[in-house]
Symmetry: C2
Subunit: 210 residues, 2 copies
């Protein structure tokens, strides 16, 4: 029974699939061809039931008593997640965090890559960080359309996040990963994911304080 409505399971399932993928890619690199359900469970810190359930939304994987072939799992997970093709990502705001994001990219591994960075500060424009050219934000729309980029990471100060978002939406961006501590106003068809570190710490504190 395959669930074809991608909304019918939680975002946490998708996060776990992404984690599985990263870990199985690592196994392949370490020369592991086949893993048992028990080994997976230990490696990933999920119960065999959880692992099977997460995959079961998308089909049948592994053989009873034989286990899972890592190559084939990676292939299937990439297909499920849409990672069997390359995805370009734009980054707006090359401050400390933006810079760390650019520097943390390992280009040999990912098929999700920041391929264009933008800033409005003259001292950053036309510089290069980890091989990525930093463009003037005024050229955003032109470059996004040229490169057909659909995803944008926003790491600008709070005050500028909505303006950048408006520009992104106007330029055809469909998904935004937002690091600014604001609630972005976007049309319904735009996907937004928020990752503000201090908001996240405050959320943890709230639960600690219970």
């Amino acid at each position: 029974m395959i669930c074809t409505d991608k909304n019918c399971f939680s975002p946490e399932t998708v996060r776990r699939l992404a984690v599985y993928l990263q870990n199985f890619e690592r196994l392949i690199k370490n020369g592991v061809d086949v893993v048992s359900s028990g080994q997976i469970s230990k490696l990933l810190n999920v119960s065999p039931e959880q692992f099977r359930k997460d995959l079961s939304y998308f089909g049948e994987f592994g053989k009873r008593g034989v286990g899972y072939q890592t190559e084939s799992l990676v292939y299937e997970l990439k297909k499920i997640l849409g990672l069997n093709q390359a995805w370009q990502v734009a980054l707006v705001g090359v401050g400390r965090l933006g810079c760390a994001l650019l520097n943390s990219q390992d280009f040999s591994e990912l098929n999700v890559r920041i391929t264009a960075a933008f800033d409005s500060d003259k001292k950053n424009i036309d510089k290069t960080v980890n091989g990525i050219h930093i463009h003037d934000i005024i050229n955003f729309k032109k470059i996004i359309k040229q490169k057909k980029i659909r995803i944008c990471v926003i790491s600008v100060p709070l005050d500028h996040a909505q303006a950048v978002t408006d520009l992104a939406v106007e330029s055809g961006i469909e998904a935004i990963l937002n690091f600014a501590p604001v609630i972005l106003n976007v049309p319904e068809n735009i996907h937004v994911s928020n990752m503000d570190i201090y908001c996240e710490l405050e959320r943890l504190i709230f639960f600690l304080n219970k």
Copy 2:
């Protein structure tokens, strides 16, 4: 009707409260004493109904026709979120991301602060980043107990995240903000929040690919 069970509303509510707080603190800094419901709605990109609902879990705020006093809102939000006291945070892993986190701290503003950083790499140990001393990880337990730190940010490579987590739990840490792409195995009473950037991008791609 005040909800006293803090589990009865979504984590998204708590995130919004944290966002409200950051924005109202900004208003005070800009000399704004009173805001109307309409101004709040425009500033925060939430409907007046959503804003009222988020606060209503905790009591009655603002005066009909008068609006909200920013000072009093900040006071109440801090109380709700447990931020009327200072919280110390430990950071393990002073690589690129860890370094960016340390550098991004503005000490004049936050009562949530990374006050101790740890690494296992000799070339980082005993250095100082933005005023924070980097300790040898072997002293983690001692320092955590000394400083009575309850929250830990983990920004170490995938392979080391579980070992650091085990050490953190053993040392009395109760909440973990994890940047590694792994599912951490922790006792039930430990709060974990995951912030892996590539997992998050992959999740967005999954929905784009729909």
